[in-house]
Amino acid sequence: MDFNLTEDRRMLQDSLTRYLGDKYPVDHRNKVAYALPCHDPAKWTEMAELGALFALAPEDAGGFGGTGFDLMVVFEALGRALNPEPMLGAAMASRLMTKAGADQEALLSGAMKYAVAVGEVEAPYELDQIACTATAKGDGHVLSGRKSSVYGGQAADVILVAAMLDGKPALFEVQASDAQIAGYPMMDGGGAAEVLLDDTPAKLLLADASDALSDALNAGALALCAEAVGVMEVTHDITLDYLRTRKQFGVPIGKFQVLQHRAVDMLTEIEQSRSITIKAASELEGPDASRFVSMAKNLIGRAARLVAEESIQMHGGIAMTWEYPVSHYAKRLVMLDAQLGDTDYHLSRVMAGLQAA
């Protein structure tokens, strides 16, 4: 049993955290995050040079990481800085390309940006209800349908698409320039896109991609959990600073027990969130990955909303302003719940496991 990070991961965490703190502060982030392309291409390249993308893939796929703990380290650092770069799509795409045995040099070096399109308007999370279809045409395939909430899709060069082929979800590679892409900034910053496919040419990567897609969704959800842990810790720290310095009735408001106990409850839920994320990371390659990832995403969905709402409330009016960073952290905490399966969706997956056993 060892809850310390390995030396390599600690170094990656430190360098990424330092880089984001120095070069990507929240005011710069806010300039970037809410307008297309919702990221900073120069900074993306610098982050790739630091190894943030190579950490996403295992050695035999050209990276130097690829485990749940590697994802955890990268995304927690991103969360602490509230970073809007399209790393989620890269992480999920890398997972899929490793499973498909595809060359991902361009992804890991940062030369090309990838996004993953699984969800649809009426089935945002469910793999078994994909309506998008693939048809053989000539040497390749064409895809038709609409893919929804494609994170990083607004900035992607390549999109990996899940579409039905012979009754099974298959994985295809689509050049962004061949599809109709409606990109948009999100409420909490960062970008996504609706991807419209109409006999769009596509290269088949995996004919039966159910397991690979399920794994990529698990990895993506785990990444979001780790990101949330980073966001929650910073939000809590800012709130504590405020409680120590803001005076009302002649005393720092942190002297009021009604606020102290609520701040403790936030701490408790953040510790629980970190714990369940560690557990999910350790199980990511195992047979029960979906179960533990769902546990993590459910708990963190609840905890993140608590931390967001309580931080705003305990600050009072100032946290309602665009200028004060907590507002942006809080938005991220609330909105990430709906990415790759919300609290209820993941609870129902844990329930299904209970009911089946």
């Binding site: 049993m1 060892d2 809850f3 310390n4 990070l5 390995t6 991961r9 703990f69 504590l240 409680l243 120590r244 720092p252 942190g254 002297k255 027990q257 102290q260 106990h261 701040a263 403790v264 409850d265 701490l267 408790t268 510790e271 629980q272 969130s273 970190r274 714990s275 369940i276 560690i278 557990k279 990371a281 350790s282 533990f292 546990m295 459910n298 708990l299 609870l347 129902s348 844990v350 329930m351 209970l354 009911q355």
Partner: protein, 395 residues
């Protein structure tokens, strides 16, 4: 980062598991499983069995007869004991007074009392709380006045758990009423046979007799029964608070309760289907299971830290708060699962032909009510929040 236990720890777990399988008497584990009130005889029998193996005083130093386990091994032992439905070790002598005497007691006190705790000669109980001193323990009023070679004790203690089985009590008494609250308190050992002591039962919410109130009227105790220095008892009280923290999360008990609830929800039928197929009930179980899964890791993380730093830190208050709330939720589910069948007062249905709910569940409502205590005792969850506010949040 590695969540697996070492090969040595796994071997230790196997050793504990097979030992329990061979040595835990079935009538004792059955009583624990069914939640019937534990008798004194059962506790004494189980203590004696563990003592023969050298596994009774798990928190004691090796030189005093402890097994010399690491925090992780203690954790494994507790987890396996829960899994096997072993009774909880009665903590007052073994896990409270024992470590206090080892840290603060005189050589004479150690030589006399420690063996008697191990072999069961003495059953200790705790005289801390008073009617006017609960969370604000330092405001306690029970007086011990020096008179020659004796202290004369007057006052009242309460919430004395299992005092009805005890022959001795350790007390916090005020020896200097002029000093600042925390500085005038002493830790004194008292024989319950001493004239002037009266113990009365307190009937609890579910009807059981678990705690007592103890009245002291001119009780004369030799000054040699003082532990540590006079007026330094608060240091000992705090020592107990920080050192008696293994197993504070009660993860093993919650795991036990979760399995019970799952089994119950599969067995009980409601509306023509097993209760577990009711989405609302299944959702409640799932959420409790998720919180417990996180708690297991939180517990291990703090254990790991304690093992590295030598002692548990103040963050263990998180374990108390969250661990008790999760356990209470599971006890609530065990009650809810029965629906109206949870209603009969325990023992009220004497006709053996009338089966009322699955076997072993007749105490589920009682157990739910009894377990409301866990967020109150040992420093209420609100006191734990105060501790965390000071130590972790620095507000």
């Amino acid at each position: 980062m590695d969540l697996s236990f070492s090969a040595e720890d796994n071997a230790f777990r196997e050793e504990v598991r097979s030992y329990l399988a061979e040595n835990l008497p079935k009538q004792i584990s059955d009583a624990v499983r069914n939640g019937t009130e534990q008798t004194k005889e059962m506790a004494e029998e189980w203590h004696a069995i563990l003592n023969r193996k050298g596994w009774l005083a798990t928190t004691w130093g090796v030189e005093f007869g402890g097994p010399g386990w690491t925090p992780v091994q203690k954790h494994i032992f507790e987890e396996e004991c829960c899994r096997a439905y072993a009774p909880r070790i009665v903590p007052f002598g073994l896990n409270m007074l024992g470590p206090v005497l080892q840290a603060f007691g005189s050589k004479e006190q150690q030589d006399y009392y420690l063996p008697r705790i191990l072999d069961g000669t003495d059953w200790w109980c705790q005289g801390y709380s008073e009617p006017g001193a609960g969370s604000d323990l330092a405001s306690l009023k029970t007086r011990a006045v020096r008179d020659g070679d004796e202290y004369v004790i007057n006052g009242q203690k309460t919430w004395t758990t299992l005092g009805q089985h005890a022959n001795k009590i350790f007390c916090l008494c005020r020896t200097d009423p002029e000093a600042k609250q925390q500085e005038g308190i002493s830790f004194i050992l008292v024989d319950l046979d001493t004239p002037g002591i009266e113990m009365r039962p307190i009937r609890l919410i579910e009807g059981g007799h678990e705690v007592n109130e103890v009245f002291f009227t001119d009780v004369r105790v030799p000054v040699t029964n003082l532990v540590g220095e006079e007026n330094k008892g608060w240091t000992i009280a705090k020592f107990l608070l920080t050192h008696e923290r293994t197993g504070i999360a009660g993860v093993g008990f919650s795991m036990q309760s979760l399995e019970e609830v799952k089994a119950l929800a599969r067995k009980i039928r409601r509306g023509g289907r097993p209760l577990i197929q009711d989405p609302l009930f299944a959702a409640r179980i799932a959420q409790a299971e998720i919180d417990l899964e996180a708690m297991k890791i939180t517990n291990l993380r703090m254990l790991f830290k304690a093992q590295q730093q030598g002692a548990p830190g103040p963050e263990t208050s998180i374990l108390k708060i969250k661990g008790t709330v999760i356990h209470q939720e599971l006890k609530d589910l065990a009650r809810r699962a029965l629906g109206p069948v949870a209603a009969p007062f325990p023992g009220s249905i004497t006709d053996g032909n009338i089966m009322f709910g699955p076997e072993g569940t007749s105490n589920n409502a009682a157990r739910y009510f009894n377990n409301r205590k866990t967020s109150i005792f040992g420093g209420s969850n609100e006191i734990q929040r105060n501790i965390l506010t000071k130590t972790m949040l620095e507000l």
